[in-house]
């Protein structure tokens, strides 16, 4: 991992079109500003990982099980 020291209001450029700026340092929290093209998604890593995991689970959904849920809903065995 490349490690660079930067202070408040100092910026790192990544490639031609991504900029990461340290805005503020307070205690153990750093506020960071990111300028990136719309094609680049920027997420907090733990949130990104949680949603990626959930999408991967969701992509395995089988039609028959959804059909089972629909039957239960129609039979009133579950409610919204």
């Amino acid at each position: 991992m490349l490690v660079l020291s930067r202070g408040p209001e100092q910026t790192i450029c990544i490639g031609d079109d991504v900029e990461v700026t340290v805005l503020d340092v307070r205690g153990d929290c750093v506020r960071i500003g990111i300028r990136a093209p719309q094609s680049v998604a920027v997420h907090r890593k733990e949130v990104f990982l949680a949603i990626r995991e959930e999408n991967q689970r969701a992509a395995r959904t089988e039609g028959e099980i959804l059909e089972g849920a629909l039957r239960m809903l129609r039979a009133g065995e579950v409610k919204r």
């Binding site: 969701a58 959904t61 089988e62 959804l66 809903l73 009133g76």
Partner: protein, 147 residues
């Protein structure tokens, strides 16, 4: 357009129903074209089927059917990414995880899919509010009027 799917066989969908996800879904960055299909058995469920990867399909639903108070505050950047100016114009669906026990179906309210239905551009966004998680159960156990 002819689309091969694992779950529904080969289907024919008009070109203008293809929805473009320029960034893909989170964890699926290279799958960028989807179609929204009604669930063959009807009901509140639909499928977001990839037009590129036959096996990739997500069961989705309109969150307002299950979570009355659910709000999706779409940021200006996220709106711009799908070519909209007004959040009220965005259609929203949420992705479901459907385990073996259908009663335990959960909806991902933290990462909803917002759709510009006019231009057929969509994105999965991440809500900043601390209110929602990736797993909200959609059903309560118990008798209710059949729908």
């Amino acid at each position: 357009m002819r689309i091969e799917t694992t779950r529904f066989g080969t289907i024919d969908v008009p070109e203008e129903r293809v929805i473009s996800f320029p960034r893909g879904l989170i964890g699926f960055p290279h799958t960028t074209r989807y179609v929204l299909l009604d669930h063959p058995g009807g009901g509140p469920f639909r499928w977001l089927q990839s037009a590129d990867a036959p096996a990739v399909a997500f069961a989705v639903t309109d969150p307002r059917l299950f979570f009355e108070d659910y709000r999706v505050p779409v940021s200006r950047e996220d709106l711009q990414a799908i070519g909209l100016e007004d959040a009220a114009e965005a259609a929203v669906v949420v992705i479901l995880v459907v385990p073996k026990d259908p009663e335990s179906i959960t909806a991902n309210l933290l990462g909803p899919v917002v759709i510009n239905a006019r231009d057929r551009i969509a994105a999965q966004i991440v809500l900043e509010s601390g209110t929602y998680t990736t797993r909200h159960r959609i059903f309560e156990r118990g008798a209710a009027a059949p729908c």
